[in-house]
């Protein structure tokens, strides 16, 4: 179990490390007896490898794969960011929040900004992803062997849609005959399943993208979309932070109410957690984007 976990943690290393040292590290894990300390050491190593790009092995990753990795990195961050954004939406959807937004313009404006930029960013994600999806589908059409790789990203999405439909149907049929702790438990489990499906979808997209030849203009477009999405993440995170501060100042009673599935956090504490997750996701996305931009000019020119 620990050995398997250690091998999984190797997947957290930057692409250049995995390409250059992945086989050796697997061999080293097979030679030794991985334990919990090994797993922690690998986690620390993976984190440091991300934080010290200057030590990354050179030449292990070509420019196209670097941009692929950047695009996937931004997408992964977007999934985490979307989960935090959903928590923001659920926290602030009730009437007292919209009433406070009408009375205090800064609150209303910040809330509107979050929604508008989130909508634009979602559209940008789709715009950047569509050319890559088209390339993958074209490849699947030509090469039947690649079909399972291309279809795989849709599986977690369909699975989560079915799960959501089941949860909604059960909630409706139960009506008022369910306890608040039971519905909180279901909500938490649904949220975790959603994040899990999102991560699984991105990992499957990653496998499909790395198996698909993509023309440099499409990769450049994906990089540009990723950059815009990253900027949007920072804007949304800033708007959320402004909203949290404004709510605490202008509508203290609403800000102090219990919130969340088990009512363990106040609204302000929830918004702080949401903002921290958003900022962390935005910083990681910025790191991934920066790595892509570094090699942008090294992308091979489109075939004549």
């Amino acid at each position: 179990m620990t050995a398997r976990l250690a091998r999984l943690v190797l997947g957290l290393y930057p692409l250049a490390y995995r390409r250059r040292y992945g086989e050796e590290m697997h061999a080293l894990l097979e030679d030794g007896r991985p334990n919990a300390r090994t797993v922690l050491d690998l986690l620390r190593g993976a984190l440091l490898a991300h934080l010290r790009p200057q030590d990354a092995p050179t030449g292990a990753v070509d420019a196209a794969d670097r941009v692929r990795a950047s695009a996937v990195g931004v997408l992964m961050c977007w999934v985490l960011f979307a989960a935090a954004s959903f928590a923001f939406y659920k926290t602030t959807e009730d009437q007292p929040f919209s009433a406070a937004g009408h009375v205090h313009p800064l609150l209303g404006d910040a809330h509107l900004a979050v929604q508008a930029v989130a909508l634009l960013a979602s559209a940008t994600v789709m715009l950047g992803a569509l050319p890559l999806i088209a390339a993958a589908l074209m490849r699947a059409r030509r090469d039947p062997g690649a079909r399972s790789t291309v279809i795989l990203p849709f599986v977690p999405v369909i699975g989560f849609a079915i799960l959501t439909a089941v949860v909604v149907a059960v909630a409706h049929s139960a009506g008022q005959h369910h306890t608040s702790s039971a519905s909180s438990g279901v909500a938490v489990a649904w949220g975790i399943a959603g994040i899990g499906c999102g991560v699984a979808c991105v990992l499957a997209c990653r496998a499909a993208l790395f198996a698909t030849p993509v023309a440099p203009p499409r990769l450049r477009a994906a990089l540009a979309s990723g950059t815009l999405v990253t900027v949007a993440m920072f804007v949304i995170a800033a708007a959320t932070a402004i909203y949290a501060v404004a709510l605490a100042i202008d509508a203290g009673s609403v800000a102090g109410e219990s919130n969340g599935p088990f009512q363990v956090l106040s609204v302000t504490a929830s918004l702080i957690v949401v903002t921290v997750v958003m900022v962390a996701a935005a910083i990681l996305a910025a790191t991934a984007t920066r790595r892509g931009w570094r090699v942008r000019n090294a992308l091979a020119p489109p075939a004549q």
């Binding site: 250690a6 490390y17 250059r20 040292y21 086989e23 050796e24 590290m25 697997h26 061999a27 080293l28 894990l29 030679d31 030794g32 300390r37 090994t38 922690l40 050491d41 690998l42 986690l43 620390r44 190593g45 993976a46 440091l48 490898a49 010290r52 200057q54 030590d55 990354a56 092995p57 050179t58």
Partner: protein
């Protein structure tokens, strides 16, 4: 004994020292380091150090044998190791001399 510093068991220094008598692959480095320094380098630490030393030109990789790639010191790595060890030796000699003088004065 209280632990007062980490220079002598800095992973980079340990890896360079391990490679001083010839090329070794990852597992051989960890067992060698454990033997002469009593420090078990985890795979994350080891490959972080190997990447850093390789990017600075202090070690170089040899062709892989099976899935294991041996590493050896470059000329620059040998010089850097020698310089570092001489500095450590000088510090050690100075410290020991002073302890002896203080002991004699008591």
């Amino acid at each position: 004994m209280r632990y007062i510093g980490e220079r002598s068991n800095d992973p980079a220094l340990l890896v360079l020292t391990s490679l001083a008598d010839g090329a070794k692959h990852g597992y051989a480095i960890t067992t060698d380091v454990e033997e002469f320094a009593g420090v078990r380098l985890g795979p994350g630490t080891l490959y972080g150090v190997l990447a850093r030393l390789e990017s600075r030109g202090l070690i170089e990789a040899l062709p892989a044998e099976d899935r294991r790639r041996p590493y050896r010191l470059t000329a620059e790595g040998s010089a850097a190791l020698e310089h570092e060890l001489q500095t450590l030796q000088s510090v050690a000699n100075r410290g020991l001399d002073r302890l002896r003088v203080a002991e004699a004065a008591r």
